[in-house]
Symmetry: D2
Subunit: 506 residues, 4 copies
């Protein structure tokens, strides 16, 4: 009977029709844009970008009408995503700069509301609360709405994670020192923190029955002890091993942070026994529960640069500990077996500096220097410190048992100091140490000859360290470290540190 809807044309018909036309045109414009091809976008220059941003970043509604604004059409978000992805690196910087600068907080409005807040201070609490809420609202950057809407589109969350990776790259590469970019980073981080809250993450155990897609990514993301091939990978998810990852509903099939665990009798002091073990041809190789007393976290990798600062690894370790405790009720020892990236280059830097300062001889005792000299047959006239530098840069010392035993005490105490004594803004300089100490682990044991791979010798003279998790100490340790910068360590570590201090006259 009634074939087409007609528009309300009563008393207010004229105004109504005009509004409808305007709104519809706007909506359609942005709808169409969703389908434009941006392949030539980098020729468009600033004007095109500005037009797009103006269209997709809708103005902040007034405080009063903030709940009365319908979400903009999805095509807005999709358009921005397509547009941004089509840009080259330089134009991305331009786009993010413009977005954060021109579509951020309305400073005038914010300062006006700050004045109002101060004016209300003598008034009742209800008035103050309202003034605060308005002020808070006015401090919302306009682009935050766009980010919010993007998160609702398919693939949107992943887009924002990658966008933040770009922002972080801009900041760390000093491509821009705009405070607005830093502000954008802060806004993104706080949004991502909400979406990647632990309650929304899912712990998955990865096995050989997991989808190939996931296992391939696990393999690619493994940065600590690279996976050599699929046999190697199969072993890392096989018996006496566990592999866990956090995934997120909005990024299916994408592990966010991955933890590899070895189940052992004692706390492992050597990584080759875990990742390079020759595959024994045991057809149905079952775990013997009685041999499982310790869980060794031998690799933890974050996979999303854009989630930096969003706490995931800490929560993953805690969840895995609980998971393992329920699988092995009698399991008592939880510890990492961690690499010490940066030790060798720090040591080279130290030696080089000592040489310049003429204090080359301070790091080793006279007896030790003599032994180095004898063991290296260094050319007469070459300063021993140079001989040592060469030894370390070439990893040659590993081929001589004698040199190795001469250097063991020297390198162990230097390494202990590097981990325990070297700081950045008061916290451990070494990032792996900083991670585990923040989590509340104890710096438990330095292990000599722990990673004899070329990589391990080059990075840290083959030394590795256990950060041990005493479950009823981690909260205290974590607070002590974060708030008071105190590192909890064992006698072994502290003993080595003392030896270093004695020798080095620090």
């Amino acid at each position: 009977m009634i074939s087409h809807p007609v528009i309300c044309a009563l008393r207010n018909s004229v105004r109504c029709w005009r509004q409808r036309a305007v709104i519809k045109a706007a909506v359609e414009a942005s709808d169409l844009c969703g389908w434009r091809c941006y392949s030539t976008s980098h020729h468009r220059g600033v004007t095109g970008m500005e037009a797009i941003l103006s269209r997709v970043v809708t103005p902040l509604p007034t405080y009063e009408t903030r709940d009365k604004f319908p979400p903009p059409p999805e095509s807005n978000s999709v358009e921005f995503m397509h547009f941004y992805k089509s840009l080259d690196k330089e134009d991305k910087l331009g786009c993010l700069t413009k977005l954060s600068h021109d579509f951020g907080v309305d400073h005038k409005s914010a300062s006006e509301l700050a004045v109002k807040l101060l004016d209300t201070q003598v008034r009742d609490l209800a008035t103050i609360l309202q003034a605060e809420d308005r002020l808070r609202y006015s401090l919302t950057p306009r682009y935050k709405q766009l980010l919010n809407h993007i998160s609702k589109v398919e693939g949107g969350v992943k887009f924002l994670v990658d966008l933040r990776a770009d922002v972080l790259e801009i900041i760390s590469s000093k491509a821009s020192d705009s405070p607005h970019i830093r502000d954008l980073n802060g806004t993104l981080k706080s949004l991502l923190s909400e979406w990647f809250s632990v309650g929304l993450l899912r712990l998955e155990r990865i096995t050989w029955q997991s989808p190939c897609e996931i296992l391939q990514k696990i393999s690619q993301y493994e940065a600590v002890h690279p996976v050599r091939n699929w046999t190697d990978l199969k072993r890392r998810v096989g018996p006496y091993r566990r592999c866990y990852a956090f995934t997120h509903a909005a990024m299916p099939g994408e592990p966010l942070v991955v933890l590899h665990v070895a189940l052992t009798e004692d706390i492992a002091d050597n990584i080759q026994s875990i990742v390079r073990e020759i595959a024994t041809p045991t057809p149905c190789f079952e775990e013997d529960v009685n041999k499982v007393n310790s869980a060794i976290f031998y690799s933890i990798s974050s996979t999303q640069a854009g989630l930096q600062g969003v706490e995931l690894g800490n929560y993953l370790i805690k969840k895995v500990v609980r998971e393992l405790q329920s699988e092995f009720p009698h399991m008592a020892q939880f510890s990492s077996l961690s690499p010490i990236p940066g030790f060798s280059s720090w040591l080279q830097g130290l030696l080089s500096q000592y040489r310049k300062e003429g204090r080359g001889s301070d790091l080793l005792s006279e007896q030790e220097w003599r032994e180095v000299e004898q063991a290296t047959d260094s050319e007469p006239g070459t300063p021993a410190v140079d001989a040592l530098r060469k030894l370390i840069s070439t990893s040659e010392w590993t081929r001589s048992e004698r040199l190795s035993s001469v250097l063991e005490p020297v390198l162990m105490r230097l390494c202990a100091w590097y981990l325990y004594g070297e700081k950045r803004r008061g916290y451990a300089l070494n990032p792996v140490a900083n991670f585990h100490l923040q989590n509340g682990a104890t710096m438990w044991r330095l292990n000599w000859n722990a990673d004899t791979s070329p990589r391990g010798v080059a990075n840290s003279c083959g030394i590795m360290v256990n950060y041990r998790y005493f479950l009823n100490e981690t909260s205290t340790n974590s607070a002590l470290y974060l708030q008071n910068k105190v590192i909890t360590a064992t006698e072994q570590v502290l003993g080595l540190v003392s030896q270093f201090q004695k020798n080095s006259k620090l």
Copy 2:
């Protein structure tokens, strides 16, 4: 070799030990509390509550150290959850009042930072941005951290949804008019909005193969057309029907909003053909795709009181439309068949008011009044308006064909006015109308004799309405309605509204 960890006891040993002891004591205290029994909590009075809140709501770190605070132990969150659940209604009010009042924004700090912001106005943008960020941070209520931590605990998100339901109940029942409670509501709503963002929701089709647990809940939550028994339910998820729900990773097994759809040839004008149809004993009753041209949304129910204001229904309808379009590429008509709750009571109120004002006769034409009188055999002396009120309150008119045909035009134009003309703050008074109009639907057709169940006759004189979704109009319609309060309607509806206006001399 090293059997126990020892604590760093070097130079700073004394300070360190003391700190450790203090921190550890605090941590342990709260750990233990997690296991306390709160069964006697309501005898403890205010002091106990204060102690608990002080312990679990940690102070806001300074702006500088905000990233250096480890998350409090989970036991904090668990303790608060147990504690709160153990309270009776009155104590809950007390607890929420105290929480929102004593652990909210630090007004002094906020106003100081507002002063600072104003002082920076002449300075460079970097300084302004920093001042804004500090101010923004200072406007964070201290309890927001607690809420954040609770969300990470198992069952925490559901707890917060229920907590907000309590807060909303307090506000709507006027149990408290504290502005702090309103602030708490705002904070909760904004947090829940982030966590229940569409990107994190999962669309699930509910079928007879779905878990019984879900189907039982679907049945319980169905408020629009109550499910009578499991046969009824089975039909609602069977052929020519679709049932969809949003679920959320943090609340598994819990449908958040449920949409029931009937697949029909034409846009349905009667609900009994959908929900009360006698089960035909067709053993393998298959859908005939050629008979499916329209999708009728005949019921949509939100299940979580605590998610009020968090847009879900709108997104669910849009996602379902897309789902149906991909299943039935030729499907062209999308429409609701909606109840009109409140029409009968509005009408009773109107009649009663007209009578009081002596304008009783204005609503119907003289001819109509005569016909009512004749049809009812009303006692002489009884005013016709009273007879009409009685007829409607008893639903007796439905038993007389004559009365029914007399009343049809009258009730239809009154109902059209109720839906189209009656407003609250400028928006449609009827909540179902308001929901669909916000979504951008068109008020499409009023249907006489559309719900002949006792409930349907009692609520809306058996009338139902179709809100139709013209997919390329919804964005425009939604914006027009929300921003300009313009209702899009068809000629049928507008014609009925005109008739009402003519008769009623409004």
Copy 3:
């Protein structure tokens, strides 16, 4: 280049073309038939049926070419299935009779090959083996191929299960005494036994999270203690309960045999404590592992009449025992709590027969008869045995404590005899007893007042029995029972049996 295939038309072209035409016509004929409507089939009479059977039951290939026959088109099987389903009961009998009679073993060929086998007896083993194989092949009924092909079609296995149910119904109702029908039954049973072999069954635990479809069937199939409503059902899959079923890949969503288990502290002696317990409103009612020492099988139901004689229940119990042992390593007691269907009617029969034979007084001692008389106030002249019969048929004795205590020893010893002493072909007459004894269970304990529901009192005077599974005895018990007809029972049962024998002068 080459647009259409052409048919080999070389030397042998004429013969080839003719064959192709013939074969193709046959194939197409049957293809078309798959789509015919059989709605009028029962008017067609015998001729139509014969035509269809001749077409769909292909002749047995010769022994030499048996591997060189392609499977007939699926439409053959589909046609037969549609055709058979369209028949009424009488025509089904006709169809099965014709199928089994006209399309069975070729007796002439079989006897010829039997002669050949006898001729080879003096020859070498290879020749004998071949003769046996040919004979074995010739003993294959021609219809077996059709059944085999049907099993490959979607829904085919279920069709055959239902077909066998029809065959069994024909046999047990004596609608036909054709030996061919019995042969068909044997063939079907042996095929179904292969397809429903335990290795192909899947054990599923049914919970409240299982698909509604399955739970509804579980509810419908529960014959032992009928499910009253969905709350009742929810409890039967909730805490302290387990529900397991075997399902089969070829009949998805269809539980084949269902076992209900209650987890208790002691071996239950009363069914109401298990299935009628009032639902306590405990919101998060968790199992306490320490209270779980016994698994009580309180209901086992087969759901497919057509699988009679295909051992499933026995295997299900064994698999469930293993499942429970792995969930509760310390669980020590496994027992049924079983109904005794048929006891009351057997007792009525016995009383009636005794009365006829004038031995009415033999079953009870004089003292007992006196007590019955006193307790019933039976009219003078009414023989006590009649009073007893009436009491039992009306269940009235349960309302009198005195009568109840008088009858307890009488009914218990009669019941013990019924279970232990009454036989059919040497095995326990009571089917439930026979089932558990075959499985190797021990007749462990008779329980008075064990099922006080009207149904329980009517069927077995409220008595129930535990068949207990001593896991290291079941193999022995099963063999003893099946091969030597020996029932393993406890002192309690044997004591009651002795008392019966003493009293009854049997």
Copy 4:
């Protein structure tokens, strides 16, 4: 009250106790054996084997008691499986020989029942049917029961599949010519055919989301076009590709037969375009449905040697066709692109034989021989046929365009003859041809330069062939081929065959 079960010790107590003891001893003996270590089994010699077989292969019950035998304890089956797996190859042969010889059909009983059957021939049908059934039963080998029981144990079905692979290996390697081994093979095949019936198989589409375990097996099993690495594998399950497998409930995670399909516009004439295509770095490379007109089966592999003769590939192709038709309703062309294994070696054999017979010149025309000679610059005096043999065995001709164009017509017509004319027992000699022709495909097109890999050139001079599936012809074709040995082929193929016949004077 009753603490221990006691054994029925009534009238028949003595007999009963004795039986129980004997049975129990037997049961326990075999239970214990399940746990014995067989590592030294091959030293035990024949006696140990005989003892074990006697214990685990229970005697066939009499016809009358055949339903009254409880299944033997699982440990019987497990014992046999462990025992057999512990044997070396030679002992396996001994074990299978003994099993099939000593535990097969009871020939005496079979011949007696054959006599009885002949005696009944004058009697009524019921008697005949019974005699047939008894005879049929007596023809069951005693070991069939053991096989049946093994199938019920975990891993039992896979064990039997592998056992049959051993049996087939014995037969084909002629390690034994025992007719009993052939009988065992027949029994196993018929049992496996029941268990691997199509109704019990599950079609799985393999994608990059499938478990790694399955994908690794798919990669290993691919025999036709070996998978080079995981990138290659990823492409074979990616866009424009489909990979399907049958799996079976009793062998989870084990693909039984795997079909690889390429989705193309036209029927592919070259395999490199399918499996060696360079991976283009297209990030989100979506299928364009409009470009998908043909499904090319480019590889089909059976994975279980023990399932030889159990029709799986044929059913897989048919199921996949249906699956593809439902995904792509307009898909019209289904064809293989198949290798021609054995063509080159057949050709070498032919050339060698022709040379011996002095008919070397018959295969090519004079003109062709001249061209070969010119193109090869063969040494004077070397017969052209030798030059040709060398060319083919070295694949050198592919490097010369001239030679290639000379040889094309020659090799194409020889290959056509090889596929179409060369027979074994009347069926195509080439196994791939035989497979597709049995399925009812048409020999559709020979493709020159279709597999230019070294393997392809070496095996079949780079020629491949399409067997095309015209869906409404396959039933007819299959029957024609299997029953009348008629190959359906296109004009192209038949034309090439004619040319061959003309040239070769066959």
